[in-house]
């Protein structure tokens, strides 16, 4: 009989994939780290920067970056170069961008984060 735990997530932005269920009993002993704490751990160890570089490489390989650039160009052409701000572009392409990230990539990043947290757990 296993307790079901949920990672505490602060819903700060657009939709996220559902949290994965815990796989070991260890989690029941220790308090689950908050998203804030995980984030700080990732930043301070430098892992976040490494993960970001990996993500950039993957997104480049699969053409996602080219797609986003094309979307931005199309939007800018429609609106006129002088009528577009960074905020506009972020607003327009963020939903499409998030939706088109391949699941395999999400899985890979998630796996790496889990592995990192497991390796640095106290």
């Amino acid at each position: 009989m296993s307790h079901s735990h949920k990672l505490v997530i602060k819903r700060s932005s657009m939709s996220r994939p559902p949290p994965p269920p815990p796989t070991t009993n260890k989690d029941q002993q220790h308090q689950n780290p908050s998203l804030q704490e995980i984030n700080i751990k990732l930043i301070q160890s430098g892992e976040k920067e490494r993960l970001k570089e990996l993500l950039r490489e993957r997104l480049l390989e699969c053409g996602w970056i080219d797609e986003m650039k094309a979307l931005c160009r199309a939007f800018t052409r429609k609106k006129g170069r002088n009528n577009v701000t960074v905020d506009d572009l972020v607003h327009v392409i963020s939903p499409k961008g998030r939706a088109s990230v391949p699941n395999s990539m999400k899985a890979e990043l998630l796996q790496r984060i889990r592995a990192f947290l497991a390796s640095t757990a106290d």
């Binding site: 804030q36 920067e49 490489e57 972020v90």
Partner: protein
């Protein structure tokens, strides 16, 4: 021949930025520059007050926001997600003069009131300088291109295989079919059958007799005879020697005015493509060239590359008399020689003290490349090492680098690498108004139709009064993508999206048909400096032929790969026609 183009296309500052600048003195971002940190894996610049700072929003305490901005006026950090909550906007509205902020993870300036990115030249120069210093400091002695590896360490050219234009072979349309039939005489028909050699060599193959150490000329001529755009120009009667001589004879009337290397080329093309397979003696051509390049007129062996350059100059000079045409070689409008071979090189020189970069453009008809000083690029001399005794672990700095073998791509990488000029080569910086140590980087602004690479195998030292030849093998590819050596690629990987003079480069690069090239001719040199021989290998529809003066034979591609390349000719892939299997059928 160089022209300074410093036409920086900078975006107009927003009113808030203007007010900010006017209120904060000549260097409004000076304090910010001290907070620029360059992070190891990707070489990206970030803004941190302390090196280990974890930035978080001052209002909501969140550090996991995707966009965090530090107010330039008061250094407070806030999050910014315009439609949900933007504590950065709140801050900018609450205190006038606090509209300008900087993205802490991207080191890019932002106006919270306008919701848009803004630019400051000095700030961007400081960011680039920090990235440059960081990159050159971490460059290992193997000379790996740290400057170009600012994105995830992997080479962009391996990842981007997108062609902008699909390659389609040319087929004559119905109109061209008809005119071919009506107005042309078949050169190869039943009556000429005796002239067709039994080996069925492709069109336009004819040996060139050696007139006495003229293999330097023969080898270049064979390459030019099969340079697709050049061949098409002359076979398309674009320079008619009869008409040209008639015209010039009428204007000047003297014998010298009839010197026209283009006419001689026209005659050569006619002779070689006539269908006659017996070796041809280019005596008239040699004589004409002697008249043009009097200093090189002798019976001694000459340098093939020098001959090539002087030939192009000779063709260009003739056209100079036609005042209607544009004279700038860079545009390629002046003459067929430049139309085919001329590209534009860009040189960026950056002052290591203030970051000010000056850019110049120069046309070029070829690129001369240095061979690596040592095998594998290690600091130690490896003249004792043979190809068999390599220690792959030690010499391989990157897993995808071909250990120890010099490659054409390696030479091009080194050619476009940012190079720190020695302290004895300080260049004048316009901003500092003194000579400063500089960083120089070459890149290709515009690709020619045909790229000629010249390997500097002959070293002449006037000091020691000696010359020597470098025999080291250089590996060259049959297909070459020049994209990584373009100015847009080089500068983008170095500067990211800082405002640096792109001069509308981005648009030009996207208008280029393609950056893919195909090898079609290799001029090789064998033997010693004083007693050597030039041979040209030609490639037609994936079949290789060896042109050794009067003898042309079919050879296996492995022979060509193993040859000692001296000059390599690559043509844009869209111009590289595959010959049809049937010759001379209509």
């Amino acid at each position: 021949m160089s022209s300074k183009i410093n036409g920086h296309v900078s975006p107009q500052p927003c009113p808030h930025l203007l007010v900010f600048r006017s209120r904060n003195g000549p260097k409004p971002f000076r304090a910010l520059q001290d907070c620029i940190r360059v992070k190891p894996p990707g070489g990206r610049a970030a803004i941190r007050r302390e090196p280990t700072e974890v930035p978080r929003c001052g209002t909501c305490e969140e550090s996991s926001r995707s966009r965090l901005y530090a107010c330039v006026a008061c250094a407070a950090v806030f999050c910014h997600a315009p439609l949900l909550h933007s504590h950065a906007s709140d801050h900018s509205l609450s205190i006038p003069g606090h509209e300008i902020a900087v993205d802490v993870d991207r080191a890019e300036l932002f106006c919270c009131a306008c919701g848009d990115q803004v630019y400051d030249r000095d700030f961007d120069a400081a960011v680039v300088l920090a990235q440059t210093v960081n990159a050159t400091a971490t460059t290992s002695t193997s000379g790996s291109t740290a400057m170009q590896c600012s994105v995830a360490g992997s080479q962009p050219e391996n990842l981007r295989k997108r062609r902008r234009v699909d390659y389609r072979p040319w087929e004559p349309d119905s109109g061209e079919h008809i005119s071919r039939g009506n107005q042309s005489i078949p050169l190869l028909d039943a009556t000429n059958a005796s002239l067709v050699s039994s080996t069925q060599q492709p069109w336009g193959f004819r040996g060139l007799n050696n007139l006495g150490n003229t293999c330097f000329m023969n080898s270049i001529l064979q390459a030019l005879l099969h340079t697709p755009p050049l061949r098409n120009y002359f076979l398309g009667d674009r320079h008619n020697r009869y008409y040209c001589q008639q015209k010039n004879g009428a204007i000047n009337g003297t014998k010298n005015s009839r010197l026209c290397l283009a006419c001689d080329m026209d005659a050569l093309f006619s002779a070689v493509f006539s269908g006659d397979r017996t070796p041809y003696s280019p005596a008239k051509f040699l004589y004409s060239w002697w008249q043009h390049a009097a200093n090189l007129a002798s019976y001694e062996q000459q340098d093939a590359h020098e001959f090539f350059i002087s030939m192009l100059e000779g063709i260009h000079e003739k056209v100079e008399k036609d005042k209607r045409k544009s004279q700038s070689p860079g545009s390629g409008d002046c003459c067929i020689a430049h139309r085919v071979f001329s590209g534009i090189l860009r040189s960026d020189v950056m002052c290591m003290v203030c970051g000010f970069t000056s850019t110049t453009y120069d046309p070029c008809v070829d690129i001369s490349l240095d061979l690596e000083p040592n095998q594998g690029g290690s600091g130690k001399s490896s003249s004792a090492k043979s190809l068999n005794s390599f220690n792959f672990e030690a010499d391989c700095m990157r897993p995808n680098q071909n250990c120890g073998i010099s490659t054409l791509k390696g030479c091009l990488e080194r050619f476009t690498r940012a190079e720190k000029l020695g302290s004895d080569q300080k260049l004048f910086c316009q901003k500092c108004q003194v000579r400063q140590e500089s960083l120089k980087q070459m890149s290709i602004r515009k690709l020619p139709l045909v790229s000629c690479f010249h390997v500097k195998r002959f070293e002449h030292s006037s000091i020691r009064k000696m010359s020597r030849k470098v025999d080291r093998y250089l590996q060259f590819p049959f297909s070459l993508d020049m994209a990584p050596y373009l100015s847009s690629s080089i500068l983008r990987s170095r500067f990211g999206n800082r405002i640096f003079p792109f001069d509308g480069d981005e648009q030009d690069a996207s208008n280029d048909l393609s950056t893919e090239f195909e090898l079609f001719a290799v001029v090789t040199h064998s033997g010693r400096l004083d007693a050597g021989h030039y041979v040209t290998y030609l490639r037609l529809s994936n079949q290789w032929y060896k042109c050794d003066d009067a003898w042309i034979t079919q050879v296996n591609e492995s022979i060509v790969r193993a040859a000692q390349g001296y000059m390599m000719f690559y043509v844009q892939k869209v111009l590289y026609y595959k010959e049809s299997e049937n010759q001379g059928t209509s």
